[in-house]
Symmetry: D2
C-alpha cells in the first residue's frame, strides 16, 4: 500500500518535509511507500510552483477537501491554523502531523489532543530534534543510567534575526497568529527535549521580554506592533527533582540557530549544540572530562542508513528520521485492526499538549510574577 500524504504549507517546513519523504526510498528501504499526494495552500500560482518543485501530484486550496482523502495529513501552517484542520482530519480518522508548537493557545491544543485520543490514530507534534542521532544517543545514555540521577537541565535556544530593529514584521511577531514568540517557537523545542531526556515539567517561573515594540511591514509604508516576546527565560522543577533553566532569544547577536542542552547527573554530564549536531559531549563515570563523541558510527541511532563514520549529517536529516518513524507508525496502524494502532509514535499530540501547558504556565507566571504549577 502506498501512503497518500496531504500537506498544508509549502514554505520552509513544506520543503523540509517534502525532502524528507523524497529521500526515504533510497535510505530507508523498509519505510512504507509514500506519495506526496496533495499540497494545500491559498495562492494558486505559488502553490502550483511549489507542488512542481516539491514533487506533489495535486494541489488544493481548501484543506477541508483534503483531510478526509489522504492517509496522513501534515499541518505545517502558522500556529493559529493548526487546530481546525487537525481536528477535522482526526475526526475523519486521518493521522496528523502538526508543526510545533501544537497550537497558538492552550485551549486549541487541548482540543487537538482530545480529537487525537478519540480518533485513535497516530499523531505527531513535529519536535524534530528528538531525531538528532546525538540526542537519541544521549537519551539512551540517560535511560541506561549512565548519567545517574539528574540534578540539572539547562537549555538555551539562541537566534539573532531580530537584533536589527528594522528587521521586518512577520506572523511570528503576532500573538494572535503565533501565540507567543521566542517562547513558543524556540522554547517549545527546549521543553520537549527536557521532557524527552529527563521528565515532565512540574512548576515554572517565567520571564518574557519584548525589546522592540513595532516593526516595519516589508514593502509597505507602515509598522505593526510586536505582540509576542522577543526572548524568554524560565526556571523549573522537573519530575524526579531536577532543577532546570530554559532560555531563548531572537536577540542573541551572532547566534543563528544555536540550541544547546546541558545535563548534570550524579554520575555524569551531557552537552549538545545544534550547530554541531553530529557531536555529543559526555562526561562518564571513570572519566575526568567531557568526551567529544562524533555520533556517526554505524551502530549510532539511524546511522546505518547513511554514510561511513565521520561523514556528518545535516539539520535536514532529522526530518527524514521523523518522517520515517511517523509514516511507519501510520502504515502499521493502517494494517492493524482499526483504531488500535495510534499509540506508538512519539512525540504525539499528547506530548505537544504537555509542552503547551508549560508554555502557558510560563506566560502566566510572567504575568503574575510568581511560580506556577503545570496542570
Amino acid at each position: 500500500m502506498t501512503l497518500k500524504v496531504g500537506v498544508l504549507g509549502y514554505r520552509f517546513m513544506g520543503k523540509a518535509h517534502a525532502n524528507a519523504m523524497a529521500r526515504l526510498p533510497m535510505f530507508f528501504p523498509d519505510a512504507p511507500e509514500v506519495e506526496r499526494h496533495v499540497l494545500v495552500g491559498r495562492d494558486e500560482d505559488a502553490l502550483a510552483d511549489a507542488a512542481d518543485r516539491l514533487g506533489f501530484e495535486n494541489t488544493a486550496t481548501d484543506w477541508e477537501d483534503v483531510v478526509g482523502e489522504v492517509d496522513a495529513f501534515y499541518n505545517l501552517g502558522p500556529n493559529h491554523v493548526h487546530a481546525d484542520p487537525a481536528v477535522a482530519a482526526l475526526e475523519a480518522g486521518t493521522p496528523v502531523l502538526s508543526e510545533k508548537p501544537l497550537a497558538n493557545d492552550l485551549e486549541s491544543a487541548e482540543r487537538m489532543a482530545e480529537a487525537a485520543e478519540s480518533a485513535g490514530v497516530p499523531t505527531a507534534t513535529a519536535f524534530n530534534y528528538r531525531f538528532v542521532p546525538a540526542l537519541r544517543y544521549a537519551k539512551n545514555l540517560v535511560e541506561d543510567g549512565e548519567i545517574g540521577e539528574i540534578r540539572h537541565f539547562r537549555g538555551q535556544y539562541l537566534q539573532d534575526w531580530l537584533v536589527d530593529p528594522e528587521a521586518p514584521w512577520s506572523w511570528r511577531n503576532s500573538e494572535e497568529m503565533a501565540g507567543s514568540g521566542a517562547l513558543g517557537d524556540l522554547g517549545a523545542h527546549t521543553i520537549d527535549l527536557a521532557r524527552f531526556l529527563v521528565g515532565d515539567v512540574e512548576r515554572v517561573s517565567g520571564h518574557l521580554r519584548t525589546f522592540v515594540d513595532e516593526r516595519p511591514v516589508e514593502g509597505e509604508n507602515e509598522t505593526r506592533p510586536v505582540t509576542v516576546d522577543d526572548a524568554y527565560s524560565a526556571q523549573a522543577e522537573l519530575e524526579g527533582g531536577a532543577m532546570a533553566t530554559f532560555e531563548a532569544s531572537r536577540f542573541a547577536d551572532g547566534h543563528k540557530n544555536d540550541h544547546t542542552i546541558e545535563i548534570h547527573g550524579s554520575e555524569g554530564s551531557l552537552r549538545f549544540s545544534l550547530e554541531r549536531l553530529n557531536e555529543l559531549e559526555v562526561l562518564r563515570e571513570g572519566n575526568r572530562g567531557y568526551e567529544t563523541i562524533l555520533v556517526t558510527d554505524e551502530d549510532d541511532p539511524y546511522l546505518d542508513h547513511w554514510w561511513p563514520p565521520g561523514h556528518v549529517l545535516g539539520w535536514e536529516h532529522t526530518f527524514v528520521h521523523e518522517n520515517y518513524e511517523f509514516l511507519s507508525a501510520v502504515d502499521s496502524a493502517a494494517s492493524e485492526s482499526s483504531g488500535s494502532g495510534g499509540g506508538d509514535y512519539r512525540p504525539d499530540f499528547e506530548d505537544g499538549l504537555a509542552v503547551q501547558r508549560v508554555l502557558a504556565a510560563i506566560q502566566e507566571s510572567d504575568e503574575r510574577g510568581e511560580w506556577v504549577s503545570v496542570a
Copy 2:
C-alpha cells in the same frame, strides 16, 4: 612608607593574598612597599607554621589586637566572622579588604558598609574576577559601546565537589556560618560581574535547592545537616533593561571551577570562561562569528607587567592585580589629607553590600515564590 598588612585567615585565601603581596615588587615596581606584618588565627601551631611559610613577621590570636595597628586589614575568614573585625578595623580608621560575600547576612553587610562610609578609608570586597585581564578588556569593550545596548547577561558558576553524597561537611554547608551555599559563595561572583559589566540588578526571581540534606563530618562518626543551597538559579532584570539569568551549582559533574559569562548586545556579544581565563570570545560589528582573543598582548590590561604575548597567566594573577590596586589605593589615601581618599577603589564595601542585597532578594524570592525587587 611601608604598608603593614594584617591578615586574618591562613588557608586557601590567606595563601592567595600572601602570594599576591609577595609578588608585587618584582612585577609591579610602582606598588607601595608592603610588609606582611601579622597573621591572625586561633590555632597557634598551625598559625606559626603558616606565618613562616607565607612570610609574615608576626602572629596574633586575637584580631582585636591587630585591627588598629596595621595599615590595612585583610579579613579572609568564614563569612560569619567578616563583620565584627571589619567594623572594628574601620572604626580604628584602618582600610579593610574582606573576602566575598561581604557577610553572611544582609544586616551585617549593611553594618560593614556603614562603617566604611563613616571611616572614609579604602575598602575592598574581594571580587577578584574583576581583575582577570580578559574581563577588564570586556569591560572596556562594553564601555566603548562596542557591544551596543545590552539585552542579555548569562552567568553560570559550576563546580562538582559535592556530587558525592559522602563528601564531608564543612562550614560552607552551614547557613549560620556561610549565610548561603552556592548562591553566596559562587553566585556572589556572578552578580558582581553583572554589576561590573552591565549594571545594577533591579529585581529577581530565585530558585534554591539542597540535593543532599546531611553530610558526614570528617574523622568523626556523625553527620551534620546541610542548611544551605547546593545550587541556585535566578532570573533578573538589570539596570538599562537587560534580562539576566544566573546559576551556580556544586553538583555540576565534571566542572571544577567553571565560571562562564555571556553577554548579548545590540552590536555584539561576549563569552568568557574562567577555566580558559586568558581568552575572551568577542562578536564585533562587521564580523560574523565570535573571535577568540588571547588577552595577553602588551597593551592588554595588566599584561605589560608580565610576559610576552601568548605566555598565559593563571588564576592566582587576579589576586596580584587586586592587591596592587587595593594597596595602591591604601597608600594613596594615607598620603592624602586624612579621610579624603577612600572612594577610589572598587569593588568596595558598597559594592559588596549591593551584591548582598541581591543575594538576599534571591533567597527571599525563593521563599515567597515570587519576584522580589532589590531594595
Copy 3:
C-alpha cells in the same frame, strides 16, 4: 533535454552520486533534467538491487556497452579500473566524471588527461571538498587578497579504520588496485585543496609508512599483504613561495574522517575541519583572533538553495553541489557547437593529473630519500 547518466559502481560512491542527482530538482531547479539511466556492475543480483534502490532505469554488466550511449559517464570503481572506461567514453565523445585519485598510476592518469583534451568535453575528477561551502568561502577570501601572500599551507587527513591489526584487507590495501594507500585515497584530497586554495605544488619530500604488513581476508582463513602506505607525510613548496606540509593516516586513533586545512598569510589565517564542515575559522586584518564563522548564510556559496541560516548541511551536500556544477557544464557543452564547451568545469582531468603527479613525486621522493620536483 534530459541528460542520461551512466554510472559504474554502486557502493559508497554510487549511493553518494545517485542521491546527489536525485536531489537536484527540488533544490537546484535550474539544473538540467537528469535521468539515472544505467547502473553498471558485475554482480547481477546486487546490481539489480542497487539499481532499484538508487533509482536507475537500467542495468548493464559491461561498461563498453554503456560509455557511448549516455550523456555523461560516472566512473566510481576502484582506482585501477578508472582509466580504460574513461578513455573509451571520452573517445566516444562522452563527458566523464571519475572518482579520485584520477588513476592508480601516473601513466594511466596521463592517458586519461590526453583523452580528455582530445575529446573536448567536460571531465571531472571528483574532489568533492572543493564544493564545501566553507571552503568555497575560503577560496573567495584568498582570491580577494584577505589573507595576503600565503606563507604556510598545512593539510591533515586523519582516519583510524586500520588501527586494529585485525581490520580486514580490502582493495584499498593493494598497490595494484589502489596505486597507493592513505596517500592516494586521502592525500589526493589535501593536495587538490592546496592547488585550489594556494597554487601548484612545485617540489616535495615524502615519507610513506606501512605499520601492518598483512591483513586477514574477511570470511576466509587467509591473509593478504598490504602493499600500500598506511600513512604518509610530505613537505612541499607551492607556487608563489608557500611552504606546505601534508599528512594522512589510517592509524590516527579517534579520528573518523578528519580533514583539516590551515593557511597562514601575510594578512590573515584560515582553519577548516571536515568534521565541522559548516564552520570556517578566519583571522582577518583588524581582528586579533580567529573568528568562527558558520558558513550557512543566504549569501554564502550554494546556501540560497538550502535552509535558513544556522541549519547546517552535511557531508553529502558536497556531492549535490558537485553534480550540479558538472551536469550543468555537460548540459551547456551539449547545447553549444560541438567540441567547444569542455573547458569550464573544474576540477577536471587536468587537475586530476596534476594531483597524480604530486602523488607520484611523493612516492618517488620516499623511495629515493630526497626532494623531487613535480614535473
Copy 4:
C-alpha cells in the same frame, strides 16, 4: 645549606627564573633554600636595576668571576654565549642550567656535554615544557601504556611576531648568535618533547625558509640581514618506529605562542596546546572521543603545591617546577659524596646535545635535499 645561585641574563628569561626561585619557599617548602646571589650582565646601570627588581644580592660584569663562586650557575644569555661560561663553570665543578637550545652550533653543544660528563654535577637544558603538569600527565599515560605503541607524533610551534616585514631585527635573526631561527628557538622545544614523550629521533628530512631577508634595526637608519630561518618543517622517524612531523614558524598570523603536540598510538591519542596549558585531550581505550581533562586535580603532577581543582596555572609555573627539580638535584648532589650525584636531573646537557644533533641534522638535510641520519 643555602644554595647561592649566579645568573647570567636579566631580561625575559632572567625574570622568569628569578620569579621561579622567589616562589619556591611558599609553595615548595621542601625545596632547598636558595639565595639569588649574583646577577651577571654587561650594562652596569641596567644590571643594578634588574638586580634590585629581581632580588639579587650582588651584581657582576664578568661571568668568569662568578662561575666558580656559586652553587649553581644559570646561563640565560643568547645562544652563542652559552658554551664558554657553561664549560668554565663545569670545570670549576659548578652545576649549570643553560637556556635552550643548548648552543648555537653542534660543536659547542658537544663541548658542553663533554664538560658536563667530566664534571659529574647536575646540568639542565631549560626545556621548561617538560614541567607543564598536563604534559607530565601525558608522559605518565604513555609510560603506563595507555596510548599503546606510538605511530604518530606531530608538533607545531606557531608564533607571528615576524609577519610584519618591518618588525625589527634582533639577535634571534642572526645565525652567528642564534645558530638558527624558528628551528632552534621553537623547534628545539618540540624535538625535546618528542624525545620526552616518545623517544629519540633517528632520521630527518628538513625544510627551512626565510621569508624576509633583511630587517630594520630599531632606532637606527639601517637594516641587517636575516641569516636564519623564519620557519622550518621536518619529517622524522623516531625510535620505536613512529612517524613524526615537526613545524615552527614566526609567520603564523594570529598565533602568539601556540605549541601543539599530538600523538596517535595503537590504543589511544593525545593532544595538547600551550595556549591552553592546563588542558590535555586524551582518547583512551573504551572511549570513543577525546576527553578534555583539566589537569588541575590535587593528584596531578605538582598540583598539590598550588590551588584547588580548576584554579588554573600559567606559563610561568613551568619555571617554578623546573627550578624546584633542578635545585633539588643540585642540593642533593652537593650533600652526597662528591661527584656521584650529577645524573639524576633531566633534561640535562646530554638531552640538550641530543636535541642539538637533530637541529643540525635538519639543517643539513635542508641543505643537501635529502634525509639525514641523526648521529
